[in-house]
Symmetry: C2
Subunit: 500 residues, 2 copies
Amino acid sequence: MAWFRNLIQVSAIRALIKPRNTHPPLSLYTSLTHFSTDPTTHQTPPTNPIQYSGLPPTKSNEKPRVVVLGSGWAGCRLMKGIDTEIYDVVCVSPRNHMVFTPLLASTCVGTLEFRSVAEPIGRIQPAISRAPGSYFFLAHSTGLDTDNHVVDCRTVTDEANTLDPWNFKISYDKLIIALGAQALTFGIRGVTENAIFLREVSHAQEIRRKLLLNLMLSDVPGISEEEKRRLLHCVVVGGGPTGVEFSGELSDFIIRDVHQRYAHVKDYIHVTLIEANEILSSFDDRLRRYATKQLTKSGVHLVRGIVKDVQPQKIILNDGTEVPYGLLVWSTGVGPSPFVKSLELPKSPEGRIGVDEWLRVPSAQDVFSIGDCSGFLESTGRPTLPALAQVAEREGKYLANLLNKIGKAGGGRANTAKDMELGDPFVYKHLGSMATIGRYKALVDLRQSKEGKGLSMAGFVSWFIWRSAYLTRVISWRNRFYVAINWATTFVFGRDISRI
Amino acid sequence: MAWFRNLIQVSAIRALIKPRNTHPPLSLYTSLTHFSTDPTTHQTPPTNPIQYSGLPPTKSNEKPRVVVLGSGWAGCRLMKGIDTEIYDVVCVSPRNHMVFTPLLASTCVGTLEFRSVAEPIGRIQPAISRAPGSYFFLAHSTGLDTDNHVVDCRTVTDEANTLDPWNFKISYDKLIIALGAQALTFGIRGVTENAIFLREVSHAQEIRRKLLLNLMLSDVPGISEEEKRRLLHCVVVGGGPTGVEFSGELSDFIIRDVHQRYAHVKDYIHVTLIEANEILSSFDDRLRRYATKQLTKSGVHLVRGIVKDVQPQKIILNDGTEVPYGLLVWSTGVGPSPFVKSLELPKSPEGRIGVDEWLRVPSAQDVFSIGDCSGFLESTGRPTLPALAQVAEREGKYLANLLNKIGKAGGGRANTAKDMELGDPFVYKHLGSMATIGRYKALVDLRQSKEGKGLSMAGFVSWFIWRSAYLTRVISWRNRFYVAINWATTFVFGRDISRI
């Protein structure tokens, strides 16, 4: 009892544990700051209280506030480059990490661990977790008032059954919209319900769990030959780099690991890649032919076809062909998300947020947009850049420098940089494309454009370049270390097949 | 188009892709083998077909079949030791891996990765994935017919929306029931709904996700001081080794990582450990006092109390005290699962499956039981052994040797070992207990019983012993390597805080 007597005096515990009946009702929506501009503040219905709290406009004794919506390549590269001596940084995103997307396909089959490709934002920009005026908010952006320099947000609480989501507002001095894009389904019925995309760590986890589940289920007595074949038919729709890399990883997994660890069902598993046009259309012809040959050799069935309908157990193609599947991965490019579409901002010809050469949204003071959600306005005469990590990263880096420059020149605060000379506009220089195709082979295309001239190569050396290039681009030393360790252990011990 | 023309000839693809309208209806429940003993086979209602397929009794040209129910310490150690020259091994379990439970608490806060503590069964006993007559089935055991030597099973398909679970039967020559136990809730209302146990990798994942969610939510504007304090109040109920180790890990995480990476909310997070009696009751008095002092020093509030009711946001103790919480981990010991209770087999005084000195279930020919689900029959005059990994592992090892011996003597087949001389009965020798309490401190109690004499020590050296001992006991070299790497990176870079 000694320990208990000693402890009962700890004062902190008193604050936590209250005697019955003196416990005041929890007021979940107590506001820190009410916005006088918000008319709903005092009209809260009791059942669904919508009171707004948030971060008010910065005062003159505070640093100007850069608000970043999104935590992808563009937003994270920007946050990394922001000078936190000049600005406070606030990030609003439904996920607290950046995904190293080029390596995501490798995590689906256990070549890499999930955590090796996820980088917490607090590591990318440490001020977010330490500086008094910098924050990360786990929330969706729900609205934007460019006149008043305010963003509406709603917390992500989906898994906490003890807490309802609530709304809050953030005033910004500079706003960077870097919300990325979402997978395109072309309005094909059943895609969202039945297919898995490959854009987030949770997607890769879902693919892995389903693949391993199907491998195990197909071995259980009572399953027909046909059903076994269906369960183990992995169909990938979309022949871009993601679809091709995933198909390659999958065939590697089958050749090396399934044959050894699921020997009973190894002859039933197949991979089919369906593409409406040509696979890897952005790559050199020679590389494309090489990839086609190599994928076929590894057992990937390449099918040219257009998907018409997706049902729970089969796809229907345009020509009426039925393709039964057990796992369906959808990777046919990306387009603007509903929130981006809903924003009343100028748009690029593709429906992205329209920006000028300095990545500004011209009609809205202090608003910028980078990454897959943005595109050049038609008036700039520039083509919209492809939705690539490379583009997003370069834009983030450029904009961080631009904002630092603006801040140093005293234009950090809202509405103070209107007529400032911004210097060189953003110019994108393509460094080349890479894709791995399995079996220690990859493609490296160093031409600056589809029509341009330059080095392009394929094979083991390319694969080695592919691995080295990505390894050096992984953001933190911790993850660089883990990716290298993962690759080494996969090489020595094979892939991990535990389904957790 | 060249690649497409080449590929269209691949014959395998024909088997997968069928032209419309020639596709026969999928007959999911086609049986491989019908059991003549099963009267329901031909009375299947069309809406919910219950046809049974499965593995029939072994024939004389096949190896005798050992069926293992469960994939915990006991079952896995047994499978590892079984001589696959003599037996085929079939494992039935809802998870395809073993969990290295002593290190599970460390995964909740990112000290270790989840995969480092999960060992796929195919690695523990490779024959399971390769030998023609050995299998792993992802399924629950649902019934047992000891007269006919048959186990009923039902597949686990919870996450596959394209497939309904189905039933099948497995005939055994030897059956080993190693189903473990389930967390005790003592009938307290709300525990199952609101608390998280700490027994599976999925539990640790849930704890981690919730902890990180609460840390992030508590930083979002609009949350009251009181609510913030509640969200960040981590309550652990149960002061056994699991509860203490988890509290220790949590306080380490708070001291080292939360203070650095969640600086805004660091003063709101607290850990309370509630125990009805004394913490670590199986340990030496001196060690217990040491643990109490160390935990208190690390900021863990030790509270003696009995939980009466668990509500979504607060616990009510017996004396009426209300304890608001954001995360509730429940670890108050284990008891028999409903399936074990339902089995019509002799039971030990604690309600576990009763076994004799050779771990046999006396009334059922060829049935054995090991691990937390089994206990000595009263008639043996032996006390029931504690529900420890150590006990389960020793039983698995003993039984593997016993079965190998029986098999070598020609008694492997069902009903052939009735009067066989079994040799030495199982004797458990306690090797000592260990528990880490955070801050590089651990307890090591090498006494053979609570009353016995022997070495007991606490502190850094113990912590070092704790780590080394577990590291050497991790089953595969792969995971041994990963645990060491995880520890090293946590030491250098801090814990991982990405919420994926």
